[in-house]
Symmetry: C2
Subunit: 206 residues, 2 copies
């Protein structure tokens, strides 16, 4: 155990110090924005000095990259977890549920992902673009399948996909995990909204 890497050091709560830094960074990045959050402020929140953070991380950008990566991976995994042998309506429903679950389960991470990812540069940025595109492609496939099966009635699959993503993506701005609506209920509202928009009417096959 003497060779344990430094990032497994234990913070009081049982999580690693590095995880704690990431968590607080996520909160601050979300609240103030990446560039308006200083390392000194982040350290202060952790009862440390700015310089001390570098015992655990390489750079500020690494924090952003890791937070954004986590969200991107979560969204993509969620989309990829949608059973592709289900009906388009059921798939759409699963997609929506997965989307909201990711946001609700890690609101800070998701919010930073949506709002701050463009501050990444180089390969990290490109990697995010790829995953966003892949995510959109998953949704597009569902919409297209719905159109092909007759469950959805849209004139332009690309636009319908964009509009659906728009509906889902803005939710980080107002979705409150402790809000008045339980997630299941919000998911039901969302699903009905989107299905209606896609022309799936209430009698659509599930």
């Amino acid at each position: 155990m003497g060779t344990t890497p430094s990032n497994t050091s234990t913070a009081p709560s049982g999580t690693s110090r590095r995880d704690e830094i990431l968590r607080v960074a996520g909160e601050l990045f979300r609240r103030h924005g990446y560039h308006a959050t200083s390392m000194r402020e982040l350290a202060k929140r952790l009862n440390l000095r700015g310089a001390s953070l570098y015992a655990h991380i390489d750079s500020k950008e690494e924090l952003l990259r890791e937070i954004v990566d986590r969200a991107a991976d979560a969204f993509l995994a969620s989309a990829r977890g949608v059973p592709c042998d289900a009906s388009p309506v059921a798939r759409l429903e699963a997609f929506v549920r997965g989307h909201l679950r990711v946001i609700e389960g890690q609101i800070e991470t998701a919010a930073v992902f949506f709002h701050e990812w463009t501050h990444l540069s180089g390969p990290a940025r490109q990697h995010v673009v790829e995953r966003r595109d892949a995510y959109q492609a998953e949704l597009r496939a569902i919409v297209a399948a719905g159109v092909a099966s007759g469950d959805f009635d849209v004139e332009d699959v690309d636009v319908a996909t964009l509009l659906t993503l728009s509906t889902l993506n803005w939710s980080y701005q107002w979705l409150d995990p402790r809000g008045r609506l339980p997630l299941e209920e919000l998911t039901a509202f969302y699903t009905e909204y989107v299905l209606g928009a896609l022309g799936a009417g209430k009698g659509a096959q599930r």
Copy 2:
């Protein structure tokens, strides 16, 4: 004319230097974010030095405030221009059209409004909150009217309003004034999408 205030000085294109500063600031704030845009960079884009900007403006925050205010005012004016004696469907359609027109007509201003307004502080910030709330209230009134008239079929007017706003608000992320779809066509797609979501079906009264 010797008493002309300083902000009416003429830039090459015929607009005032101050307007030019605002325009370029809007572009840079949108592309890089407010905090990641420096006054030196803004000045450089205008072939000036950073310090020279203060002959025309009081502060960096004033730029942000003015850009955000313009967008907020435009959105609210647009919503208030919706004829309240029309059918709910027609009102909704006008709302959507107005929303997209504001964005399309000043994409930088709108994008900065959606993405950077939280960097404002004090009364300016509060003023934005008020206008955002007023804008949402206008939409809510339309949705509620549609429910009352039987044109819309939603279970929760507040949630339906939020979801509709979500659908509209994310468009600044992808709406390209020079994109493949003319605005009228995009508006038609958008209207159909939202009306469908609100349970207004294609036979709904217009």
